[in-house]
């Protein structure tokens, strides 16, 4: 999809600008741009970007980390023999064996706590939740046992664990299986939280999460698993990680800053493209990638240029990611804003089953487009 939206030239330049070298996920992004361009060019003859689904990208990230670090293991419901409820862990059992790819009973609180214990003992678990809706059973272990222990111990007891699974909107599964937990986990000091959108996001952020010595929640989205994205040559390598706390400008523009995450990135890009075609107005679309830490700097720089801010997310509106971005807008960007910052969120309603009602509950491309037009008085 993004291939259609982005001319090849822009795609190439955005790939080149991205930090790609091997290094730990938490170092600051200081790699010179020149170097990464040079690195790309030297391998140009090998084939360039390839199409990956998000599912394949996640699978590759897991396989590479399992390969390189014997302390890494994956546990969760149906991750092994069933090949993953969403096939993200497909083939890992055959490749790494049942000691490292572990099917658990349906006891989120128990197996999450067990994974936390293994992490406290120095292993590097990847704890898969079939969806984050079920992780509510285990949120105490994530928040109290994983996120707080390093601080409570005065820094002597780290907890290197990755929690991952699909989060947020899914189609036709009604209220209990369609909730977005970004705001819940994003509010906890001690956790890091990432929300990949593209295949590169998925691979680079998951690998960074596994390598990061802190507890990290990787909030994926079920509807993105099957979507294909181009994966740059650098991202196809096993040393590709994306640093946390760095948003990515997916589309540059001068008239409106759209700050968004996960599946809403794709929706916002389509809306921005349509607005551009219809009105010649250019929206800048920022993919947050990581919501804790959150890249205020990139948002502020963009708003300084566009003077308008719109947050697009699909969680419940109250006390959500959108609220946080707007609050940050007030605190850091008020002087640059020409109009009140706005947000598009999920509706304040338990997700209904019937499709027409469901459509009214979450942002979609036409309504994002319409809202942008209204906001900019187009």
């Amino acid at each position: 999809m993004s291939r259609l939206l982005r001319p090849a030239s822009r795609l190439l330049s955005s790939c080149a600008a991205r930090p790609v070298a091997a290094r730990s996920s938490f170092q600051s992004n200081t790699l010179p741009r020149i170097a990464s361009i040079a690195a790309r060019r030297s391998y140009a003859s090998e084939g360039g970007p390839k199409e990956y689904t998000v599912r394949e990208a996640l699978n590759e990230a897991l396989a590479e980390e399992l390969e390189s670090n014997p302390k890494v293991f994956v546990l969760g419901e149906e991750v092994a023999q069933y090949n993953g409820a969403y096939k993200v862990t497909k083939g890992l059992l055959d490749r790494f064996g049942e000691d490292r790819i572990i099917d658990t009973p349906i006891t989120e609180s128990g197996f999450c706590g067990l994974a936390v214990g293994a992490a406290l003992a120095g292993l590097t678990p990847v704890c898969e939740f079939m969806t984050f809706n079920f992780a509510m059973q285990a949120i105490d272990q994530i928040v109290n046992s994983a996120a707080k222990t390093h601080y409570m111990s005065g820094g002597i007891q780290p907890c290197n664990i990755t929690f991952r699974g699909p989060n947020g909107f899914a189609a036709g599964v009604a209220a209990q299986h369609s909730q977005d937990y970004s705001a819940w986990y994003g509010s906890i000091p001690g956790l890091k939280v990432v929300t990949p959108w593209s295949a590169e996001d998925a691979k680079g952020l998951l690998k960074a999460a596994i390598r990061d010595p802190n507890p990290v929640c990787v909030l994926e989205n079920e509807l993105l698993y099957g979507q294909s994205f181009p994966m740059s040559e650098a991202a196809q390598k096993d040393d590709f990680v994306i640093p946390f706390g760095k948003a990515k400008i997916e589309r540059s523009g001068k008239d409106l800053t759209i700050v968004t995450l996960s599946r809403c990135v794709g929706q916002s890009l389509i809306a921005a493209e349509n607005i551009s075609k219809k009105y010649g107005v250019e929206c800048e679309v920022i993919n947050l990638r990581s919501i804790k830490p959150l890249d205020v700097e990139t948002i502020a720089k963009s708003v300084k240029k566009t003077h308008r801010l719109l947050a697009v997310e699909s969680g419940f509106p109250a006390f959500g990611v959108g609220s946080e971005i707007l609050a940050l807008g007030m605190e850091y960007m008020f002087d640059y804003l020409d109009a009140p910052a706005q947000r598009i969120t999920g509706a304040e309603v338990p997700t209904p089953y019937a499709q027409g009602l469901e459509n009214l509950s979450f942002p979609n491309e036409p309504m994002i487009e319409a809202y942008i037009a209204k906001m900019l008085r187009l």
Binding site: T104, G110, L114, D140, H150, Q157, F244
Partner: protein
């Protein structure tokens, strides 16, 4: 605190709380360790020469498990160390009690006075490569795992040199092989199973001891941990410290089955007199051998008693009688019990044991005084925000109360 004892003996109703009536007729675990004995002639002169002591025949009760040996190999040195450890633990808890009443300790403070034999007995059956994790009544375990009195009391006082640098307080203490100090009732049990998982993953011949109270034993995740531990044969010794009250609720008012050692259902169980440090050591040693031989988990129940309230804010007398407390203190105290045996068996003279008492108290008092003299952490952003994340992996900044107070790493 409980000096005004009343006259009537309420032993019978107390027992019926914890043990089934049928079990009373047969051999039962009681907290009375009087029938233990050692052959005086077999007690060697040499402090480190091993000899055997015979445990009380009421030390254990088992569920789907052969009982441990009723003889325990030990040395005079070890017995004296056990005695020292229990006296030091109690002295430290009494210091915490005093400091709390002087309003120098903030928040919650849960003391283990009366339960010293459990932490001490467990430690003497483990190596430093084994793991222990417990709930919030953790001071004794932290001490046994190798923390200093100074660092524990320092933590209670919120000092910079406390064991968690003043960040954890009473309920959150960590040391090598000791994983807290956990404040959410029952949550430490699956975490303890995870510690055992790590031993199995690495192929270590070590165990994890996961402790919880009779109150926590009803938490769902305890049973979830049981299931996975048995399913995967993890070397974990689940341990219910049954002090007969979960906060102010008597065991039989919270638990449909108060035989906590049977609650693993498909996991063998072992009930042990938790007021007898020798029985605890023998039980845990046996259990460790069982688990490290690849037999998987065990559910142990340490029958014990807490002399004080649930925490410092609980006088501990609204849900139990003063005479019950007084009876436990006067007849089943773990320290007095071991003292009596050691003198009876000629392991130590009365003079020697008084010296151990004095030494333990002096050591603790000295460290408590040192802890009181320690500085509190400077109230600076640098100290406030340190260690939220592993050093070097922090975000660029953390938000303060206002943006002006944002802390940049």
């Amino acid at each position: 605190m409980f000096s005004r004892a009343l006259r009537t003996n309420r032993a019978a109703p107390l027992r019926s709380n914890a043990f089934s009536k049928a079990a009373l007729v047969k051999r039962t675990v009681t907290t009375d360790a009087a029938s233990a004995h050692a052959d005086k002639d077999s007690v060697p002169e040499d402090d480190v020469k091993p000899f055997q002591v015979h445990l009380s025949d009421e030390s254990f009760e088992t569920y789907e498990l052969d009982p441990p040996s009723y003889t325990l190999d030990t040395t005079k040195k070890e017995l004296k160390q056990m005695y020292y450890d229990m006296v030091a633990t109690r002295r430290m808890e009494m210091a915490a009690d005093r400091l709390y009443k002087e309003k120098k300790i903030r928040g919650f403070c849960h003391l283990s006075t009366g339960q010293e034999a459990v932490a001490t007995g467990i430690e003497h059956a483990l190596t430093k490569e084994d793991d222990v994790i417990t709930a919030y009544r953790c001071h004794g375990y932290a001490l046994m795992r190798g923390a200093t009195v100074k660092s524990i009391i320092g933590e209670l006082l919120g000092r910079r040199e406390g064991i968690a640098y003043g960040k954890g307080g009473s309920m959150h203490m960590f040391a090598k092989g000791f994983y807290g100090g956990n404040g959410i009732v029952g949550a430490q049990v699956p975490v303890g199973a995870g510690l055992a998982f790590a031993h199995k993953y690495r192929g270590n011949k070590n165990v994890s001891v996961a402790l919880y109270g009779d109150g926590a034993s009803n938490q769902g995740q305890v049973f979830e941990a049981f299931n996975m531990a048995k399913l995967w044969n993890l070397p974990v010794l689940f341990g219910c410290e049954n002090n007969k009250y979960g906060m102010g609720t008597a065991a039989n008012r919270s638990s449909a089955l108060t035989d906590y050692y049977k609650r693993g259902q498909y996991i063998p169980g072992l009930k042990v007199n938790g007021m007898d440090v020798l029985a605890v050591k023998a039980a845990v040693k046996h259990a460790k051998d069982y688990a490290t031989a690849g037999n998987g988990p065990l559910v142990l129940e340490y029958v014990t008693y807490r002399y004080g309230g649930h925490s410092m804010s609980d006088p501990g007398t609204t849900y139990r009688t003063r005479e019950e407390i007084q009876r436990m203190r006067s007849t089943q105290d773990p320290i007095a019990g071991l003292k009596q045996k050691l003198i009876e068996w000629n392991v130590v003279s009365e003079e020697e044991i008084k010296n151990i008492d004095k030494e333990a108290r002096a050591d603790v008092d000295k460290e408590v005084a040192e802890a009181e003299a320690m500085a509190v952490p400077d109230s600076t952003p640098q100290i406030l925000y340190e260690d939220i994340y592993v050093r070097g992996s922090e975000p660029q900044f953390m938000r303060g109360r206002t943006t002006d107070e944002n802390y940049y790493y």
